[in-house]
């Protein structure tokens, strides 16, 4: 508790020394809430059920968090600032981000709780369905770039962001991608997995403390990943609009984060505004509407590329 108070005091002093008073007090509230949240999650007791399958129960959070953190390794924040530039970057991203669902399924199953199991089963159904839409909508854009390597995808966009180059089919692909991405990260309006008014807390009902925090943080990292993939594939990653800051390459980080965070904001906006779908409506949306639309969209995009009707500057 003493450490928490001293952290609070340090943040307070620092903020009031660098900002006007009104701004500092708001920033203080935000920052201190974050710090306290972290301290709370770290210091909470790890409760669990005695009847749980201990090995799987303890393993599940790591699947989720590791898959999320691994995905972060390939994003091109600037031309140089990219940990791994592998030639199957986009494929790697989709592959890695779908490992997370194994953790959710394991967590829900091993908790030995019916609510958790319903949540986990929903998660399995939902993630597998929406993976198709994510993959297909990204494939639509790969038709334009001709490469799965993220640095090449950015290179192509120097003559116009892909959402501009591919115009109508690209916009459709982007919308499908955002819907499927929201569903993939189990965020509202597709948060069937948690559905707090139906299942209490869904698959992580029996988790607490840092184990819960892994699920919780993974959800937020996943949201950033979905936004970052969209930034890379549709909005030119670190490229500045109209090349206004081309001479300062390090500003790429700023542009990348700005674009990604705007998309994160969009997803949070969905979450607070829309009611949740029902599980059967969720599957209907994917299999009856998004998937056929996506397949048709790929054909249109292929025709567009073949007939050379793309826009580039």
């Amino acid at each position: 508790m003493n450490s928490a108070l001293s952290i609070t005091k340090n943040i307070h002093d620092w903020l009031f020394s660098i900002m006007p008073e009104a701004a500092a007090s708001i920033a203080e509230m935000v920052l201190i809430a974050l710090v306290y949240d972290a301290i709370k999650l770290l210091s909470k007791e790890l409760t669990g059920t005695t009847r749980a399958d201990k090995f799987l129960y303890n393993l599940a959070p790591y699947f989720v968090i590791i898959s999320s953190l691994m995905a972060l390794s390939v994003f091109p924040f600037t031309k140089e600032f990219q940990a791994f530039d592998i030639n199957i970057g986009l494929f790697f991203l989709i592959a890695v981000s779908s490992i997370g669902v194994i953790g959710i399924l394991l967590g829900g199953w091993s908790s030995n709780n019916k609510f958790a199991m319903i949540g986990a089963m929903r998660s399995g159904v939902q993630t597998i369905s929406y993976e198709l839409s994510i993959g297909l909508s990204l494939l639509t854009m790969v038709l334009l770039t001709g490469s799965l390597q993220l640095s090449e995808i950015v290179e192509v966009q120097k003559s116009g962001w892909l959402i501009v180059q591919g115009h109508i089919p690209a916009i459709i692909a982007f919308m499908i991608y955002m819907i499927a991405g929201t569903a993939e990260t189990n965020r509202a309006p597709f948060d069937m997995v948690e559905a707090e008014s139906e299942l209490g807390a869904g698959f992580h009902t029996e988790y607490s403390g840092m184990k819960f925090a892994y699920f919780f943080l993974a959800e937020f990292i996943n949201m950033f990943i979905i936004a970052a993939i969209a930034t890379t594939v549709f909005f030119g990653a670190w490229l500045s609009p109209f090349g206004i800051t081309e001479s300062i390459p390090m500003l790429g980080v700023f542009w990348f984060l700005l674009k990604a965070l705007i998309l994160v904001f969009l997803m949070m906006w969905f979450r607070w505004t829309f009611p949740r779908l029902r599980i059967d409506q969720l599957l209907t949306l994917e299999w009856k509407y998004l998937l056929p639309l996506n397949l048709a969209n790929i054909v249109i995009m292929a025709l567009l590329v073949w007939l050379n009707l793309t826009i580039s500057f």
Binding site: K114, F115, I118, A188, P189, D191, A195, E196, S197, E198, L199, G200, R271, W272, T273, F274, P275, R276, L277, R278, I279, D280, Q281
Partner: protein
């Protein structure tokens, strides 16, 4: 309702799950014993008794003035209307002549309570189907009403404003002004509710055709309030047996015939408009006069049986008193709207998904302390 055909090679198994007494969707300590096949509800058995406080038995011990205070704790969202019900019963039994001023103020506060209750219901309804913004909208507007109540009688939720014979205090000098301000404010906010939730395609998909209650079933289960009216059963006590100043105002009874979750939703939204119009008709001409007639310190009802019903935000609340001429009733029975509305849950929720059950339950607008007295 869509049916699922299961391949005979796979054996589907029904299982039992406990929803509550601690569950976010049951709005309190209601426990539902669910029998589920996958996601599909096969049986819903409400299990009550987690917040039973023997209010009816306590009434047999207390004097009539004290009973009024207990009724706040039943349906705490329409606290003032509950108080009014007991006061009306006692006043009718004593054949007291109640001043016009009291009647008008009671009606105004009653309708404001109804708006406040529906505001909260709307916020929670949105949250139950997953839209979180509604909660803040609903509470933002309810807060203004709570402030008005606080200024008038000192309490925000359990108001105790009514006493047998009138009102505990006269209204605050600011009351008329603030109520008018609220009405102007709320007239701009209620269309916002529609834009946010009513016209949302996801919400409509979740609500239309879900939890359908036919008119016949509504009558045979004793449904009342918005639940009954959404099924086309005209059961507004304010219309059919007007009390206080409700015979002086004109308003439409919100009626729909579909009987589904969406109809129950729309009925409540319309009721907020009607309540506003009732308040508007009365607020400008509150008659002058006493705010209370003096009664004996110890009220003794003449020997006999008395019944009075009022329309709370949830439906018909009946107060049935058997008096033997002593200072407290021999038996006092509340006919609470939530209890009969809950009894039809199994009938309308079976066959739906878990999500449907939650949405249906939200439109029944259950207040558990009202069911479990």
């Amino acid at each position: 309702m869509e049916t699922v055909t299961v391949n005979s090679n796979f054996k589907s198994e029904e299982y039992f799950i406990n929803m509550g007494p601690q569950h976010p969707a049951t709005h309190g300590v209601l426990r539902l014993l669910l029998t589920i096949d996958g996601e599909i509800i096969k049986k819903v058995e409400p299990d009550l008794g987690y917040i039973h406080r023997s209010i009816e038995k306590m009434c047999e011990r207390d004097s009539y003035q004290q009973i009024v205070h207990l009724t706040d704790r039943m349906d705490y969202l329409s606290a003032n209307i509950n108080n009014e019900a007991v006061c009306l019963t006692v006043e009718n039994a004593l054949q007291l002549e109640i001043p016009e001023r009291v009647k008008v103020i009671r009606t105004i506060i009653g309708e404001l309570t109804r708006i406040s209750s529906h505001c909260l219901w709307w916020g929670v309804m949105g949250m139950d189907v997953g839209a979180l913004t509604t909660y803040f909208y609903g509470f933002r507007d309810r807060e203004l009403l709570n402030d008005i109540f606080e200024e008038t009688c000192g309490a925000r939720l359990t108001m105790n404003y009514n006493v047998p014979g009138g009102l505990m205090f006269d209204i605050h000098p600011n009351f008329v002004k603030r109520v008018k301000e609220f009405i102007t404010h709320f007239k701009t906010k209620l269309p916002e509710y529609d834009r946010l939730l009513t016209n949302n395609i996801i919400f409509q998909k979740r609500a239309i055709g879900v939890g359908v209650l036919s008119k016949e079933d509504a009558i045979s289960y004793g449904a009342s309030g918005p639940v009954g009216r959404a099924s086309g059963y005209s059961c507004d006590v304010r219309k059919h047996h007007p009390y206080s100043a409700l015979d002086k105002v004109t308003f439409n009874e919100a009626l729909r015939t579909e009987g589904d979750t969406y109809a129950r939703y729309l009925v409540r939204i319309q009721e907020m408009w009607e309540s506003m119009s009732i308040v508007e008709q009365l607020i400008d001409n509150i008659p002058e006069g006493e705010h209370r007639v003096t009664t004996n310190a110890v009220i003794k009802l003449p020997k006999g049986e008395y019944y009075q019903k009022v329309e709370t935000a949830r439906g018909e609340l009946g107060v049935y008193i058997i008096s033997t001429g002593t200072k407290s009733p021999y038996r006092l029975k509340f006919r609470s709207p939530g209890f009969s509305n809950l009894s039809l849950l199994n009938h309308i929720a079976v066959g739906g998904k878990i999500g449907d059950l939650v949405a249906t339950m939200a439109t029944l607008d259950l207040v558990i302390p009202d069911i479990d007295r």
